[in-house]
């Protein structure tokens, strides 16, 4: 291979570029990014950066000088619009082409939105989003967060710290129930209430009201929640549309890969938030949308691209910081797994819980207990080793 094109200039793309060099590839690497920014770290966007505690410069994942030895060619602000297999080239929005004999797809995901274009309604995925949201939060009194997932909860927590009145609306009976199971999700929901956040569950948002600027959120059943600012935190969709017509299998769930990152097209691999891949710990194919996956999966995909054997996968892992509590989860939970408290007491907001499947520990969740979490996380067993495409 003489040129590898990495499509997506964020965490997974940068991790792929670094892995290519670490694994001895010495040809050209061209990194194509839609955003006009060098890779930056997203997790602080809902936390310290949104709170105004850290600056943009501190989000940088790399600087041109720092990674100079990697010898990367950047094409930023010019997204890929297509992949021409015949010509072995990636086509960019500007019309330019990047000829490549290897391609890493790392185009991530974007925030799902609600219809309408009222001012004061935000999603949070990019640095620009975070700057715009902060600008609105500092002059607002009432925030309504639609969706009680991790990003919704983190924004609620940060806004509460900034002194806003906050309501979180979740359509499920309890937020995070599908990820953590009802009992532990209920413990996390208590964090909202501990911190004076109004949590509405089991109710569906039917629309937003306002004249130019948002003024309220309508719920099914006629209820209305007043709002000066609204954050829509209803999940993310993979950025895969640009692959239409490329012959690479993909759908709304992401780019299909095998458990080593290979797509159905030779010399094209995918990794990070855009990839829908079999996961031994989930026992099924999933699209992981977490930081650690965006660091590790590219290394495996790059091994595949270079014809080497990838390192064995480690259990999926994510953390979340809300209301001063540190939540950590590793493995994958399925609905019929049994849950037990391994250490501590949920009432103290400091504990470790384990999930078992046929007696085997398959996932672990901890609140404010990083040391024990680290110990248990190393004991997790995979469910099955899936093979082939999803």
């Amino acid at each position: 291979m003489r040129t590898v094109a990495v499509i997506g200039g964020s965490l997974a793309g940068l991790s792929a570029a670094r892995a290519l060099r670490e694994q001895g590839y010495d040809g050209r690497i061209v990194v194509v990014g839609e955003e006009d920014l060098f890779p930056y770290d997203r997790p602080p966007l809902s936390k310290e950066f949104l709170a105004g505690k850290i600056e943009m410069a501190e989000l940088a994942l790399t600087t041109p000088t720092e990674d100079a030895a990697l010898d990367l060619e950047w094409r930023l602000g010019d997204p890929a619009t297509g992949l021409d297999r015949g010509a072995r080239a990636v086509v960019l929005a500007s019309g330019r082409e990047v000829p490549a004999d290897g391609v890493v797809v790392a185009t991530g995901a974007r925030a799902r939105t609600l219809p309408g274009d009222l001012h004061g309604v935000h999603t949070l995925r990019t640095a620009d989003d975070a700057v715009a949201l902060r600008r609105d939060l500092v002059v607002s009194r009432r925030l309504v967060v639609i969706g009680g997932g991790f990003i919704g909860a983190e924004v609620a927590s940060t806004a509460r710290d900034m002194g806003l009145e906050v309501t979180v609306i979740e359509s499920d009976p309890v937020p995070l129930g599908r990820v953590l199971g009802a009992d532990l999700a209920a413990t996390c929901a208590e964090l909202h209430r501990d911190n004076g956040v109004h949590l509405i569950t089991g109710e569906v948002v039917t629309g937003l009201a306002g004249n130019g600027r948002v003024s309220a959120v309508h719920l099914a059943g006629g209820r209305t929640e007043p709002a000066d600012v609204v954050v829509v935190g209803i999940g993310a969709a993979p950025n895969v549309e640009w692959l239409a017509g490329s012959g690479i299998e993909h759908d709304h769930r992401g780019v299909w890969t095998d458990d080593a990152g290979a797509t159905n097209v030779p010399q094209v691999v995918a990794a990070g938030d855009c990839a829908f891949s079999p996961c031994a710990y989930a026992g099924t194919a999933v699209r992981h949308e977490h930081w650690t996956n965006a660091v590790r999966q590219p290394a495996a995909a790059v091994s595949t691209l270079l014809g080497a054997t990838p390192a064995p996968p480690t259990p999926p892992y994510f953390w979340s910081d809300q209301y001063g509590a540190r939540l950590q989860f590793a493995g994958h939970r399925l609905p019929d797994d049994a849950v037990e408290i391994i250490d501590g007491d949920p009432a103290d907001r400091r504990f470790v819980a384990g999930y078992r499947h046929n007696g085997e520990l398959v996932a672990v969740f901890a609140m404010n207990q990083p040391k024990l979490f680290g110990r248990w996380r190393r004991q997790l067993s995979p469910r099955i080793v899936p093979a082939g495409l999803p």
């Binding site: 770290d41 602080p44 994942l61 930081w291 650690t292 660091v295 990083p370 040391k371 979490f373 680290g374």
Partner: protein
């Protein structure tokens, strides 16, 4: 020097955190003691909560590894080393001689 505590209070393979000007973590690796700044240089996790393997500690939050002897990170996400400090054991009591920060020494 700051007092850490009795040698018996730091079991093999464990670490304790002490509050100096900045928190410091003292590790016992097979009977050898190492002291480094407790706060990971990446974000704000306590390295005393980390996983110790050989002479390295893995940060409990994003898994950056630091060499306990040199403070050097072995790779991303951490870019900067943590400071290391001299450990002194006197009659079963552990002390740390805190390294002056570069700025303070200059």
């Amino acid at each position: 020097m700051i007092l850490v505590g009795s040698l018996d209070d730091i079991p093999l393979g464990e670490a304790v955190r002490v509050d100096a000007e900045v928190p410091i973590a003292v590790f016992n690796v097979d009977g050898e003691l190492f002291a480094i700044d407790d706060t990971c240089t990446h974000q704000d996790a306590s390295l005393a909560d980390g996983w110790v393997e050989g002479c390295a500690v893995e940060c409990p939050l994003h898994a950056a590894c630091f060499d306990l002897r040199t403070g050097m990170p072995s790779g991303p996400p951490a870019k900067l080393p943590v400071r290391t400090h001299e450990v002194v054991v006197d009659d079963g009591v552990v002390y740390v001689r805190v390294t002056e920060s570069v700025e303070a020494a200059a």
